[in-house]
């Protein structure tokens, strides 16, 4: 009888140990793979920026053209043609951020709406640093850092 209790106790303990290290099967970490690969890139591309923005908006990322269409529908991008392999510049990202977060602190951005003043507005909001210019090409890590600040500014993930 006591042996049976002992065996039962040991079995329960082993099952508990195994279950605690078995990873969850339901959680999809697909977007995390994108972020991990992005972190290793010396230069982020326009496609990376567009994909990141679509994911930040809570939507599923699709092809580059579909993602651009989604951002145009939200007026985060204008009607220009975009090259997915072009390097992602700080100014273009700043423009998307200003329209996404509806930043209104920069008077010149309100008047002219250019990437130059969008960059200034992002600096004023603490989303980008004052060192650099709107023409700077962003690395993958820099893009992640900026989008983390955008997420925090927008109130997500506290």
């Amino acid at each position: 009888m006591k042996l049976k209790v002992l065996v039962l106790f040991l079995s329960l303990f082993l099952i508990n140990t195994v279950v605690s290290v078995v990873p969850a099967s339901g959680q999809n970490i697909g977007s995390l793979s994108f972020i991990h690969q992005l972190g290793d890139k010396e230069k982020a591309s326009l496609e990376d920026g567009v994909t990141f923005f679509v994911l930040t908006m809570g939507q599923t990322s699709s092809s580059f053209d579909a993602n651009v269409a989604a951002l145009k529908a939200k007026t985060l991008l204008n009607d220009s043609k975009y090259d997915k392999n072009a390097p992602l510049r700080r100014g273009l990202l700043a423009g998307m951020i200003c329209r996404y977060l509806k930043l209104g602190d920069s008077l010149f951005y309100k008047i002219f709406g250019t990437d130059r003043y969008a960059f200034r507005a992002c600096i004023a909001a603490g989303l980008m640093d004052v060192d650099g210019s709107e023409w700077d090409i962003l690395s993958g890590e820099e893009l992640i850092e900026i989008m983390a600040r955008v997420g925090e500014y927008g109130g997500g993930g506290k």
Partner: protein
């Protein structure tokens, strides 16, 4: 009959020893437990990335990564201490060490080391008197050692390493060996392209890191005083506007914290 009784007693004893061992095992060794998960969080320990699940245990050597709008709360447990680490969105960190040891004839030691590649973590470090607690967070540019209880550490390639002291104090040291002890809700900031950490008093105004007001000053008056640098116009008791005189005596409480050597 005697043999049966003997066997019965033996198995009872074995059962008792096993139960005591298993109950004690959890506190004798350090452990990292995932307390909550929100959104997409993954871990990796030498293999591929796998999803993190609430209730699972992580080992030293594991990397943890959070996605967009995703967070995880980890409990680092050892020697009766439980440190709470909140991993914020878009963060990647590595758990280098979480171990307990016993120095000869002196206190037990509980050591935790975390490497922050990017993002932000909030660490609430507990302290027991009989346990020497070492809690360090390293980034590519500097390391912070917690001396008090709570800090928020973040790192990014543009901003560098920023440590905000929520409660207690920390020592921040950069790769050149230059260090600062920071407390009182100040900030340790080591940028990627400078040799020295930023002056923690860089935001000091008028020679004071905090403004001191008379106890009867209202919130609106404080706002005006801050704006006009210790003087301003307020509605006086006699009607109309008057100059607020800040040159009055007031009682303040000063607490001196001596560093133990």
């Amino acid at each position: 009959m005697i043999a049966k009784t003997f066997l019965k007693r033996k198995s009872n004893t074995l059962l008792a020893i096993l139960i005591i061992f298993l109950m004690g095992a959890g506190t004798a060794f350090a452990k990292i437990k995932v307390v909550s998960v929100r959104g997409k969080v993954a871990y990796k320990n030498g293999g591929s990335w796998k999803p993190v699940r609430k209730g699972m245990t992580l080992n030293a050597g594991s990397k943890v990564s959070t996605g967009i709008r995703s967070t995880a709360v980890l409990h680092f447990m050892g020697k009766g201490n439980t440190h709470k680490v909140t991993v914020k969105p878009l963060t990647m960190m590595k758990i280098y060490e979480n171990s307990v040891s016993q120095d000869k004839g002196s206190k037990s030691k509980y050591r935790t080391r975390i490497g922050l590649r990017r993002g932000s973590i909030r660490a609430k470090v507990s302290r027991k008197r009989k346990v020497r607690t070492i809690f360090k967070v390293s980034t590519p540019v500097a390391t912070s050692s917690v001396r008090g209880t709570e800090e928020v550490v973040s790192y990014g390639p543009s901003k560098g390493m920023v440590v905000e002291v929520v409660e207690g104090s920390i020592q921040g040291e950069n790769k050149n060996g230059s260090s600062r002890t920071i407390g009182g809700k100040q900030v340790f900031h080591q940028q990627t392209n400078t040799e020295e950490p930023k002056d923690p008093l860089s935001k000091v105004k008028d020679g004071a890191s905090v403004s001191i007001y008379d106890g009867n000053v209202t919130r609106d008056e404080k706002t005006r005083l801050d704006h006009h640098h210790n003087s301003g116009f307020i509605d006086s008791d006699h009607g109309g506007l008057g100059f607020f005189d800040h040159q009055q005596g007031t009682r303040i409480k000063v607490e001196l914290q001596w560093e133990k050597k």
